[in-house]
Symmetry: C2
Subunit: 216 residues, 2 copies
DNA sequence: CGCAGGTTTGAATGTCGTCAAACCAAGTGG
DNA sequence: CCACTTGGTTTGACGACATTCAAACCTGCG
């Protein structure tokens, strides 16, 4: 989700917002004080997941700062919202947001655009989960993170560097693999010289086009 | 996607619509006469898919009648739209739909709600693709089709019957399996007495709760 | 009947998951 | 400063499940 607010809207937003910080693993139920409150991620990364009856979970989305979090007039479908890194958020009560939306058709339009974009991203990820092997999935995730870190010139042979903001377990939940398989594929990318890894977190990519090729 | 139009809106819709029929396999590009025209599926089933560079495809959604098809102010992301069965659709030019939307905030609201629901469904399917084995995926698809055919009392031990509107190949593309694996799992469900199959298409379920249990 | 497309079944292969153990990095307290 | 602990990470051996390749089988239709 991308930022969709104008400056004036952001001001109203900020005046009614309450800030809070959270540690990795904290659950950020959106139904805190008011049902279906809205929140803005101002720092860190939030993971959205669904849990199966047997306890296994599947991440269904990531929210990077400064993404919008939550949903209008919420549906019944439960998504677990959890901090993946240290996270700062900024909540707005339901009625404030509803007022904002009804006074601004453009805002509603942008919320619509954004949810359509989220839908596109979800469908992209369905292809990753359904049709890519372990190597391609791991490479795809690295491409996603690189893009979110401002790396643009994907196929130009340029290099890049970024931190992995997720644990191996979170990556596994997102990619529908096991922790061990994620590790093995990262090791393989490293052995093949596609990426360099320092401290299990810092990734350096000498040539983005080679990583892109591995992503299928 | 569900129907989101009132009767009055449907009238305007119908007055400006052009109907057409299509055979299985036909591509229903929405950019026919006008870019990003909208359409209503009045009969049959439409599949939405993404194609990978190597030619393999992944279905990312199904549209049953009377679902709405297409999207407002379309994004750049290409989805292949194809008839899965004999299909009747009813197209509306872009400007008519835009007029409808701007004259009706409720319509825009409902489009927003609907896209949020689509997002939920896409995320549900991500769990199916990511975390279920072949047997559970096939059972999940049968549950989905049963629900779309009006079967409601899922866990009441009631029976049901419906046609599979997709070929084995389409099921495989939707479930991210091979045709052979889909066949084997259907055969297993049949041998175990969970479903009955006639002519490769007609499914009878003596006890929906047993099928539901197989779906994970 | 006989063809064509879709479907079903079988046997062999390979990829990923499971189980187990070792490894590393960071923080704590002696 | 170093031993110790803890949580996360990495690697290996083995097995299970889905894919691949191949052949046979239905069903509808000319």
């Amino acid at each position: 989700m991308c930022a969709v607010l104008t400056l004036a809207e952001l001001r109203t937003f900020a005046e009614n917002a309450r800030r809070s910080s959270h540690e990795p693993g904290d659950h950020l139920m959106l139904e805190d004080s008011e049902l279906t409150s809205y929140a803005n991620v101002t720092g860190g990364i939030v993971k959205l997941s669904r849990v199966m009856r047997d306890g296994r979970q599947q991440l269904v989305g990531l929210q990077f700062a400064p993404d919008l979090l939550g949903r209008l007039f919420g549906t019944e479908n439960k998504v677990t919202v959890e901090a993946a890194s240290p996270v700062d958020i900024c909540r707005v009560p339901k009625h404030v947001l509803e007022a904002l939306v009804s006074s601004s058709p453009e805002l509603k339009q942008r919320l619509l655009d954004q949810s359509l974009q989220d839908l596109d991203e979800a469908r992209d990820w369905m292809v990753t989960l359904g049709r890519k092997d372990a190597q391609q999935r791991v490479a795809s995730l690295m491409m996603l993170i690189a893009r979110r870190n401002g790396v643009e010139e994907i196929d130009s042979g340029r290099g890049a560097a970024f931190d992995l903001p997720l644990t191996r377990a979170d990556m596994a939940d997102l990619l529908a693999l096991t922790v061990e398989t994620v590790c093995r594929q990262i090791s393989k990318l490293r052995k093949d010289g596609v990426v360099g890894i320092r401290n299990h977190r810092r990734v350096t990519v000498p040539d983005m086009s080679r990583l892109s090729a591995r992503a299928g």
